[in-house]
């Protein structure tokens, strides 16, 4: 659906993108993540046709008229009403939807009570929702969303995430976000940018299962020192951290080692186990591990 090859963008001596090979499967929701200045907005700008790459190529399987873009802080002529903004987006596009879609989108975006108000009085969250409605009004095949949920309250954020999830299969969505929990929730593929380079690209599930060091949390009845000593003697244990009077975090060399031997060691020292399980791995943990 979207493919870039050796895509680079230089601003003078500053390298914003460096040989990026992006592959976004058709119909997927692709999360673009990375620290500030990593090149996310530049990459979205090139995909949208708003910027010209210094070198490399971009292949889109959709016509430019089927691409819609939502900037991170959508703004509109302040004297237009919400209805006029969406209707303008509808009519100036290449394949306008029926006019009735404007009203339904205003309602979906939670702007039914503000349809005829000039947008100059809108909050940032309202502008974000209005921008998203204007972006999807003509049912584009490719949506490029730059931080679509960053300015929203929890309810608005939930609505946006649900909306993006519903688009899966109907359109291809590429969205950048600093809120990694959002990416983890709605994206099936992620790309991690660091200093203009794509340092990881693949499924979220694969990223979470393979990139992080296996760690387990164990809560025990005192005394816990015999357990710490026994674990310390085990060659497959990389580290044991005491998180509290009755809790340990055990890092092992591999998942297989932990699954085959960890419970045996606990049994050997007759530890009284209150709870035991793998430490929950979040996308944030993985991304921090990769980009730092």
């Amino acid at each position: 659906m979207i493919r870039t090859e050796k895509l680079s963008k230089h601003y003078g001596k500053v390298v914003a993108l460096d040989a990026v090979d992006l592959e976004v499967p058709a119909g997927s929701v692709y999360g673009l993540i990375g620290p500030n200045g990593a090149g996310k907005t530049t990459l979205l700008g090139i995909l949208a046709g708003l910027k010209t790459p210094t070198s490399g190529s971009v292949t889109l399987d959709v016509s430019p008229s089927e691409v819609a873009v939502l900037p991170d802080t959508p703004r509109f002529d302040p004297w237009l009403t919400a209805r006029e903004v969406i209707d303008l987006a509808r009519t100036i596009g290449a394949n306008p939807s029926p006019a009735a879609r404007v009203e339904s989108l205003l309602s979906e975006a939670g702007l039914a009570d503000a349809t005829d108000r000039p947008v100059k009085g809108f909050s940032r969250g309202m502008l974000q929702r209005l921008g998203l409605a204007a972006t999807i009004v003509n049912k584009p095949q490719l949506l490029l969303l730059d931080e679509p949920s960053s300015a929203l309250d929890p309810i608005g954020r939930r609505e946006v995430l649900d909306l993006v999830s519903r688009l899966r299969g109907e359109a291809t969505v590429v969205f950048s976000s600093h809120i990694l929990a959002d990416v983890q929730e709605v994206c099936d593929t992620v790309g991690i940018l660091r200093n203009g380079r794509l340092v990881y690209q693949g499924s979220v599930a694969h990223l979470l299962s393979d990139r992080i060091t296996p760690r387990y949390l164990v809560r025990l009845r005192p005394p816990i020192e015999p357990t710490i000593e026994a674990l310390g003697r085990s060659p497959w244990v990389v580290a044991v951290d005491q998180l509290g009077p009755d809790q340990l975090r055990i890092e092992t060399a591999s998942v297989a080692d932990a699954e085959s031997s960890l419970t045996a060691v606990l049994a050997q020292v007759e530890a009284r186990v209150v709870s035991f399980g793998p430490e929950a791995v979040t996308l944030e943990d993985v991304v921090l591990e990769i980009v730092t």
Binding site: T52, D77, E84
Partner: protein, 248 residues
């Protein structure tokens, strides 16, 4: 909502149309009055000093109007045009249009056309007001001469909007566009200092209304008119090309 209606709403809702009309009407109404009553006005402020003026002619009323409107009116016009034509002054708004409308001409032409039309109509209203007051207060001005002069002045106003358009394609703020446009417009009369150049310059048309009602022949302005039309088209074409290549 079409891009043409959008520009109409911009002119109406942001009071730009009224501002333009007011600027020209104000000077249209004021010019003949000041020409007619200049002696009395000066006498009010000159304590004990008597200043004699010759009786005003109808052309004096138009001269007063042209002198004031050609400066303030054009300045207001440049500001209004820059507000409409600086598409990328707010990048998010630029993104809204650029990602939906692939041809820059479709975006820029309504902005150029309606702004230029508003400026030309405002100048017509001002000219109409100046004509009426001159007729009432001073004397008759030939309609043919008046509107031929106005038409030549209108060509200059359209040229001004085209200069704004090409300047806006290279700058990223309304203020920069206004300032650079004014520098360009002010440089033209300076170029006219060169021998035989003035009659070829668009700025020569600024005084066409005044000149023709004072008896100048239209042929005095035909070269400037032809150059102005050519430069307007070129500037507009250049604005579209430059905007199309521009990165956000």
């Amino acid at each position: 909502m079409t891009l043409w209606r959008l520009e109409w709403l911009r002119l109406v809702r942001t009071k730009r149309l009224i501002t333009l009309a007011f600027a020209y009407l104000f000077f249209g109404l004021l010019g003949p009055i000041s020409a007619r009553y200049m002696g009395e006005i000066v006498a009010q402020f000159g304590e004990g000093v008597t200043v004699s003026f010759p009786d005003p002619t109808p052309a004096d009323g138009i001269t007063q109007y042209v002198g004031n409107a050609s400066q303030v009116g054009v300045l207001v016009g440049v500001v209004v045009a820059a507000g409409a034509l600086c598409l990328d002054a707010t990048p998010e708004i630029g993104t809204f249009f650029r990602t939906r409308v692939p041809a820059m001409a479709r975006i820029l032409l309504p902005r150029f056309s309606l702004t230029a039309a508003a400026l030309v109509i405002a100048s017509a209203l001002g000219t109409l007001a100046a004509w009426y007051e001159t007729e009432v207060l001073i004397g008759s001005v030939g309609a043919g001469q008046l509107w031929t002069g106005w038409l030549l002045g209108a060509l200059y106003l359209v040229f001004v909007v085209a200069v704004v358009a090409i300047t806006a394609a290279r700058t990223s703020s309304v203020l920069a566009t206004v300032l650079i446009t004014l520098v360009i417009l002010l440089a033209l009369p300076i170029l006219g200092i060169l021998p035989n150049v003035a009659r070829w310059l668009p700025s020569h048309l600024v005084g066409a209304l005044d000149g023709i009602v004072r008896g100048s022949d239209v042929s005095e302005y035909t070269r400037a008119a032809a150059v102005t039309i050519g430069l307007t088209g070129s500037a507009l074409f250049g604005a579209i090309r430059l905007s199309s290549r521009r990165e956000l």
